[in-house]
């Protein structure tokens, strides 16, 4: 009986020690994205109420990137956009019913090492947002800090 106890204790100990290993796969998402919600111009620009206006036929493409992020997507209330990890200015081209405008975001990048498997995570703080002279009326910052768990960061006010 005593011997069984010792063997059991030894197995538990070895199991505990075997648990110490390096994870070769990144199992957690460290993607940090900016959420931009649309607001119609019928609501005051400085309202604190989050108001989603859905827009049809939205196309979004990063300036300097050949890949289209949203391709003529219907009923879009919020855009989820990635900021550039290699520089502090990100620009997106937004096309709505054939009209083009550009959204500019100036941001701070803070690099955090996560693990060998996950690499680095870049945390962003939005410093300034503005748009070109197209269909967007104005842009405002709601929450400048981008987090892994998404939240509304900017508001795009446009003609309804």
């Amino acid at each position: 009986m005593e011997r069984k106890k010792y063997i059991f204790a030894l197995i538990v100990l070895i199991a505990m020690l075997c648990g110490c290993t390096v994870d070769k796969q990144c199992r957690v998402s460290y993607k940090v994205e900016m959420w931009a919600l649309f607001q119609g111009d019928s609501l005051a620009a400085d309202t604190t109420i989050a108001y989603y206006q859905r827009y049809d036929s939205i196309t979004v493409q990063g300036v300097g990137n050949d890949s289209i992020l949203y391709d003529n997507v219907k009923s879009v209330g919020t855009l989820v956009l990635q900021l550039r990890p290699d520089t502090t200015l990100t620009a997106y081209s937004l096309i709505y019913h054939g009209q083009t405008d550009t959204l500019y975001i100036r941001h701070n990048n803070t690099i955090r090492f996560v693990s060998l498997a996950c690499g680095q995570m870049v945390l962003y703080t939005i410093e300034e947002v503005w748009s070109g002279s197209g269909w967007i009326d104005s842009v405002a910052i709601l929450d400048p800090t981008l987090e892994v768990k998404g939240k509304d960061n900017i508001r795009i006010i446009a003609h309804e």
């Binding site: 020690l17 550039r84 693990s115 060998l116 690499g119 680095q120 870049v122």
Partner: protein, 241 residues
């Protein structure tokens, strides 16, 4: 204590002198039979041994971590450690532990390589209350430990699924870490001067904050894989001098 023993011995000598000096009629406290006196001597000798300050020096080598980590991580993690302790007043074992470890790994195209030394200082207490003079010991103790290492991380990804992925290299990084340990174990004399024993350790990392300069090493020599808390185990062979 020796004076007390000398006094008793002299009284015994006087009692055994027989006819030259007559013993008082009733002196049970001062005159004893040889058997009783021998027992008293043994008791006094044990007390004297228990009160001696220095009771020997132990030099021990850890076998478990060297073997376990070499097998478990196929040589990617190697750990070597030795321990020197002195036994004081039978119960106390001030201890210094020295070691060296290296770790390397690859994942997602990135590579990690680090190596460094560590030092633990602390004391154990012998928990055998009835026979503290025994060469065997049941030990509990504490340690304060530090490790200093150099490490490199190369080809580390900075992921962005939309914008292009970047890679970064961190080379020639150096960092010191500090932690505390609570240890428990035993020490058994197998043959004269030759000892074996084990220690189980609960380690709590004190230096948890990230450095501004770069990523933290994920393996700490003497502590293990970076975490707020860690377990450790040592199996020693050693010699007492």
């Amino acid at each position: 204590m020796l004076v007390a023993w000398g006094g008793m011995a002299s009284l015994y000598a006087q009692a055994s002198a027989g006819g030259r000096k007559q013993a008082p009629a009733s002196t049970p406290d001062t005159i004893r039979a040889p058997q009783q006196l021998n027992e008293t001597y043994e008791a006094e000798r044990a007390r004297f041994a228990d009160s001696a300050i220095y009771n020997g020096t132990y030099v021990k080598l850890d076998l478990f971590n060297s073997a376990f980590e070499a097998i478990r991580f196929k040589g990617a993690v190697q750990n070597y450690e030795a321990m020197v302790s002195v036994r004081l007043r039978q119960r106390f074992y001030p201890t210094i532990e020295l070691g060296y470890a290296l770790a390397s790994d690859e994942a997602n195209g990135g590579a990690y390589k680090g190596q460094g030394g560590f030092l633990r200082v602390g004391t154990d207490i012998n928990g055998l209350k009835k026979h503290p003079e025994s060469p065997h010991a049941l030990l509990v103790g504490v340690r304060v430990a530090t490790a200093y290492q150099g490490y490199d991380l190369t080809n580390v990804t900075r992921n962005s699924s939309y914008w292009q992925t970047n890679f970064a290299d961190y080379t020639d990084l150096r960092r010191a870490d500090v932690w505390g340990e609570v240890v428990a174990g035993c020490n058994v004399q197998i043959a004269k001067g030759f000892h074996m024993g084990w220690h189980i350790r609960l380690k709590v990392l004190f230096t948890r904050s990230a450095s501004e300069d770069g990523p933290l090493p994920y393996y700490i020599p003497g502590f293990g894989f970076r975490d707020d808390m860690n377990w450790g185990f040592n199996y020693y062979i050693g010699w007492k001098f």
